[in-house]
Amino acid sequence: MTYSEDFETEKEILKAASQISGGAPVAAALVGQEVRPRATELIEHGADQVFVAEDASLAQFNVETYVGTLESAAAQFTPAVILLGATRRGRELAPRLATRLKTGCVADCINLRVEEDQLTMDRVVYSGKAVASLVCTSRPVVCSVKPHVFEKERKEGRRGEVVALDLKVRDPRSKVTGGHERPTAKVNLSEAKIIVSVGRGMKKKEDIALIRDLANVLGGEVGCTRPLSSDLGWLSEEHHVGISGMSVKPHLYLAIGISGQLQHVVGMRDSRVVAAINIDKDAPIFAASDYCVVGDLYQVVPALTKSFKQMLNK
């Protein structure tokens, strides 16, 4: 059974589910308000059954009500494996659901395979130094799957069943009382072919314009390390590359003013080519790069932008 509050992610994990189901039926849970129309799309992406939980009280994600809902779906479908998307919300939902079902949970799976009749789940550990392979002896197995690892696959006209979930939604104790979306354009680093990323070498927020200029000339996106997004708030979370942020796989990753901590490097390790600019010749980033330039980014970046502008006739 699959679930993610992020629709695109749910389509990806349906692909993951079909890869390990060995032909057994796959169900998808759809939770929210007026979500039934989306069931067809989930069926086209691999769901044999879609459990729809529709209620005004489910319009907004709340871990307490959603755990109860998925518990009901699991009781009806009795899955051997439950896959959730490892978004922030998914990562707080999965272990809570597993504990509700008195079973184990594995987070952030990057690979799933069946070995000797056991589901083996791979995840990155030690800030990116290693990959651990884990199995779970209890049932159902619950795990969260990293977004952008599996490729969703659509088969138009595919058939499936839509089942309305019979549920009683318990009033949640926690409530969202406010919030604001960061006023930046929607950025999707997971699709970007070129990422120009910046770290603490940046002295002030306004200087990010230098990075944006370079990214624009290259037709790429801007990325950053955790301090710039989470601590300083200079860029939104969508730009954050690293173990607690995004994993990216561009053709080119330019790491600028980034020291190269493991927690960041693990997020960009699948890049085809990595080039780094750093003022410190001993910066760890250079060990994780193909091409290295020791220099002051405040000089190198504008010069590089100019160079590319001429080279690419922009």
């Binding site: 707080e92 272990p95 184990g104 199995v135 926690s174 080039a275 193909d290």
Partner: protein, 261 residues
């Protein structure tokens, strides 16, 4: 206010060596330290006590050698610690660890707030917190970057994918905190010395009623293998007689690599 804060000992992942031949990682002799984000959780617990009064109990499931880390959290300002070091707890998975901690919290008695880090610095599964919340039937707030308590409720500011959210829940509640919430204090020598006089409680699995629980070697999730993740990179330093030549060379190299549009 009664605050319970959970913490653990993590390996210093920068010190882990890799055997390039067998792809094995070498954990023997790697130094341990308190998991980085746990310091933020402990700091927040102590700040809440300083603001609202009460007591902070720090709980950990860790081997006996972690007494050094236990002293550290006591020195930061926790009033007492619970150090669960019985061999029967070794190799517990997240669910097992959560069951152990939840049982210990029940044994401690009344509590208002349970604080955890958003995840551990070495494993970062972020599972123990939410599992404890479920085991104790508490509401949960994750990735909190700011916490205030008033009139029996906790209000938090948290980061979700699309932005910041204001959330609130009644006490008792479990909150996981992100590193943005505070800068952890460095205890003074006086505080470090006072730490040795603070109580450290220890309980066996039997004392916590966990004899037939899926903890330790009976955990549901088991590790099959760990393999080093090595990515070979060229590590070529771009040369040039002047900085402008270096820049040109880099640009040309990347063009040749075919990664530009």
């Amino acid at each position: 206010m009664e605050v319970v804060v959970c913490f653990k000992q993590a390996v210093n992942e920068g010190e882990i060596k890799v055997d390039k031949g067998s792809k094995k990682i070498i954990l023997d002799g790697v130094p341990t330290k308190i998991s980085e984000f746990d310091r933020n959780a402990v700091e927040e617990a102590v700040r809440l006590k300083e603001q609202y009064g009460g007591r902070v109990t720090a709980v950990t499931v860790a081997p006996p050698e972690a007494s050094k880390v236990v002293k550290e959290v006591l020195a930061m300002g926790c009033d007492q610690a619970v150090h669960l070091s019985d061999a029967g707890y070794n190799d517990s998975d997240s669910y097992g660890t959560a069951l152990i901690i939840a049982s210990a919290i029940k044994k401690i008695g009344k509590f208002d707030l349970v604080l955890c880090a958003e995840g551990s610095s070495d494993i970062y599964s972020s599972q123990v917190g939410p599992s404890i919340a479920e085991a104790l039937d508490l509401p949960q707030i994750t990735y909190a970057r700011k916490i205030t308590v008033a009139e029996g409720r906790v209000r938090a500011e948290r980061t979700a994918e699309e932005g910041v959210e204001q959330v609130e829940a009644p006490l008792p509640c479990l909150v996981t905190v992100s590193s943005e919430i505070n800068s952890p204090r460095l205890p003074t020598l006086v505080q470090i010395m006072a730490a040795s006089r603070k109580p450290v409680l220890r309980w066996t699995p039997s004392e916590l009623g966990l004899d037939s629980a899926p903890i330790g070697a009976n955990s549901n999730v088991r590790l099959k293998k760990v393999e080093a993740l090595t990515v070979e990179r060229k590590g070529v330093f771009i040369q040039g007689d002047s900085s402008s030549e270096v820049v040109e060379n880099l640009a040309r190299t990347l063009l040749k690599e075919g990664v530009l549009k």
